[in-house]
Amino acid sequence: MSNKKNWPLWEVFVRSKNGLEHRHFGSLHAADAEMALENARDVYTRRNEGVSIWVVESKHITASNPEHNGELFEPAQDKVYRHPTFYDLPDDVKHM
């Protein structure tokens, strides 16, 4: 194996059609951003899957730690007042 650096890993996000958000499609290796875009096009949109591509080098992604999931996400569970069903209204009230 060469002792030089290997092509870094990139994450690929594809918008499958206008009006939809970019969605994570997978990853690939590329030496630079242009190559990552070209590779993403060739690897992930061969079947007409996309109209726009984002690539970001994987090392630039900061991810939350699943060990903190309790403090991060559970507190939101009981905040039911953020949802419309929390509020009681008589059936005759329309358009609300």
């Binding site: 690939l28 242009e34 190559m35 590779n39 096009r41 061969r46």
Partner: protein, 251 residues
């Protein structure tokens, strides 16, 4: 054949894509990285897709019962009119990219003109192909720049490939008899007029890639007349293997 000139003219264009597509197809599974492998196969598929449209059209013009496959696979070496450049082997990835780049720049210029053809079939094929080839050109020029600028080894390898293949570039701008007739009819592209723009673009990219433009003024020709390099016979042996071994069968 009523329109032998048009037929020959179409083959002149289509054979380039067929032979280059065949060469790229050889690499499938053997590329320098998975991603690059997939990309080269995509280019091969684009070219072979174009080939099918051209040959289907040529078959219609020939009116002798031959199919696209008969035209693609059952001619003698002398009857293939591709330029010598595209039949050159995949000596290494440098040669593959140099060949691609030197052809793509021409191909793009040619298709841009062909789109204006008075022949609506050719114009339509050109219109579709041009988007594919525009991508090929970007892909191959990016690689020329990477290899030229990359390491000492890659610089010397890609320079060698460019130097070796340079001798096949001039032929791209030779006019055949069919060319002349088709240009006069407004159907064909006058390739002699593409030459300046071609070298300007190629030279600029070579420069950006820190490569030197070969100075040799000695060029090879013959492909457009069916006189090919020694590589061609082997390529055709593969391409025609099934059709020659098992004639008159459907697959």
């Amino acid at each position: 054949m009523k329109n032998k000139n048009l037929y020959n003219y179409i083959l002149g264009i289509a054979d380039n894509s067929l032979i280059l597509g065949q060469r790229l197809g050889e690499l499938c599974g053997h590329g320098p990285s998975l991603e690059t492998d997939i990309a080269c196969t995509n280019m091969s598929l684009d070219l072979l897709g174009q080939v099918r449209s051209y040959y289907q059209y040529a078959a219609k013009i020939a009116e002798d019962g031959r199919t696209e496959d008969d035209i693609a696979m059952l001619r003698k070496e002398r009857e293939y009119f591709n330029v010598l450049l595209v039949e050159q082997p995949n000596t290494d990835f440098g040669y593959t990219m140099a060949r691609q780049f030197l052809f793509d720049v021409y191909h793009f210029l040619m298709l841009t003109e062909l789109e204006k053809s008075t022949d609506l079939n050719l114009s339509a094929i050109a219109k579709k192909s041009i988007k594919e080839v525009s991508y090929h050109k970007r892909f191959s020029s990016d690689w020329i720049k990477r290899l030229g600028d990359g390491t000492e080894e890659s610089h010397s390898r890609i320079q060698t490939a460019i130097n070796d293949l340079w001798t096949y570039t001039d032929e791209l701008f030779h006019q055949t008899e069919a060319d002349k007739v088709m240009v006069a009819e407004g159907v064909g592209v006058d390739v002699t007029k593409l030459k300046d723009a071609y070298y300007e673009e190629v030279n600029a990219i070579l420069e950006e890639a820190t490569l030197s433009v070969p100075e040799s003024k000695y060029f090879q020709k013959g492909g457009k007349q069916g006189i090919h390099t020694e590589h061609m016979g082997y390529l055709l042996a593969d391409l025609q293997y099934m059709q020659r071994t098992y004639p008159n069968m459907e697959w």
